[in-house]
Amino acid sequence: MTHGPEEISERIIELLPRLRRFARSLSRNQHDADDLVQSAVERAWRNLAQLKPGAPLHSWMFGIMKNAWLDNLRAAKRRGEVALPEDSGDHPAVNPTDMNANLWSVSEAMDKLPEEQRLAVALVLVEGMSYKEASEVLEIPMGTLTSRLARGRTALAASLGGE
């Protein structure tokens, strides 16, 4: 199937709710998450030529978001930035009233996970992707995905007080 920019932009717009959710599971608040979505969208358009014929658009977009997130983290580390503590109540986009308590606590627990575990958890548990799909987005073997997922789950359960 051949698609022009018009149709691809429609398809990306359809994906935006899921991209926002994925980004939110990687970020500390919705404002940062939406910044991440925006940079992923811009990056996608710049790299559209790399979209392989026959490749599913949604896997490609999630992969771009993963790369954008990892690049942001690395850039922040280079600049010596330390992530803000949880009190960022002065942030205009952080409105405790629209955050349910569950979102708050899970988000905090996710934030403590190593990057690679967090990505595995976000794609499989939050996005509901199959192992195969998630390993394709992350460009890792399925066995690597499942072991990261297992370690991420164990750590999450511990910090959420399950065990």
Binding site: P5, D34, W45, V126, S130, Y131
Partner: protein, 251 residues
């Protein structure tokens, strides 16, 4: 029955719906025989529910204009060659996507979670729930509330409040509830003369806000309602009529 030997990754894959049919069926059978296995499976299901549920509502929120604009501006600014992409596979194309395979296992997760809850916390008091043929059914105060309470008119100081009442796709009545004793919001449906508990979420309840808690549902519970509801929730008259009719399925 001795402990079944399943490793953690297998049980996680079970919770993720990633096992082959034979292994899945074997585990589904064995959890009924081995409480320790049930406890382990429950932990994995509960974690998945909790994590997925935390982010579930985000897909229903309106997308900020700046993101829509970013897509459109980028599209216009791009001198794009036409490229080949395949259509979304149907599993991910359904919109809004259910974050996990809800119907496949939510009911079981709920009953297991509550089952453990019951064993740990409720039975000493006589219990608001009981197990019957591996399903959880309401008892005690919870059963009384489900049987007779009108959402519009709860008894003062009641420990259980009713939220929505509706009919599911088979015509059976279902009601959402909040129980202070269990710190739980849940969904019970009328099956075989009992209120079968089909979904629960733990909730934190302050003093005196039970009525408000009954009106606002955790996302996982809302999804369970959405997966079952047929038509609109009953209004006050419909609810009163259903109480009078003793919850017999609608013709």
């Amino acid at each position: 029955m001795s402990a079944m030997n399943y490793d953690d990754e297998t049980l996680m894959a079970y919770a993720d719906g990633e096992l082959d049919e034979a292994t899945r069926a074997a585990i589904s059978r064995d959890v009924g025989l081995d409480p320790e296995l049930a406890r382990r499976v429950t932990r994995h299901l509960a974690l998945r529910t909790e994590v997925a549920g935390a982010f579930a509502t985000i897909v229903d929120q309106p997308v900020p204009d700046r993101l829509l604009a970013a897509v459109k501006v980028a599209a216009r600014a791009t001198d794009t060659p036409r490229v080949n992409v395949v259509s979304l596979p149907s599993r991910t194309a359904r919109a809004p996507a259910r974050p996990w395979r809800l119907r496949e296992w939510t009911a079981m997760a709920a009953s297991l979670v509550l089952g453990i809850f019951v064993a740990g916390k409720l039975l000493p008091d006589g219990g608001e729930v009981a197990t019957r043929l591996n399903a959880l059914v309401a008892r005690g105060e919870l059963m009384t509330a489900l049987d007779s309470q009108l959402a519009s008119n709860p008894a003062p100081g009641a420990a259980v409040h009713i939220g929505l009442t509706f009919r599911d796709q088979q015509g059976a009545y279902c009601r959402t509830f909040v129980s202070r004793g269990m710190s739980t919001a849940g969904l019970a449906c009328r099956r075989g003369g009992d209120w079968r508990i089909e979904q629960t979420s733990s909730v934190e309840l302050g003093e005196g806000d039970l009525r408000q808690a009954a009106a606002s549902m955790p996302p996982a519970l809302l999804q369970a309602v959405e997966a079952r509801i047929s038509g609109e929730p009953l209004d006050a008259d419909g609810e009163a009529a259903a109480v009078r009719g003793q919850w017999k399925p609608a013709p």
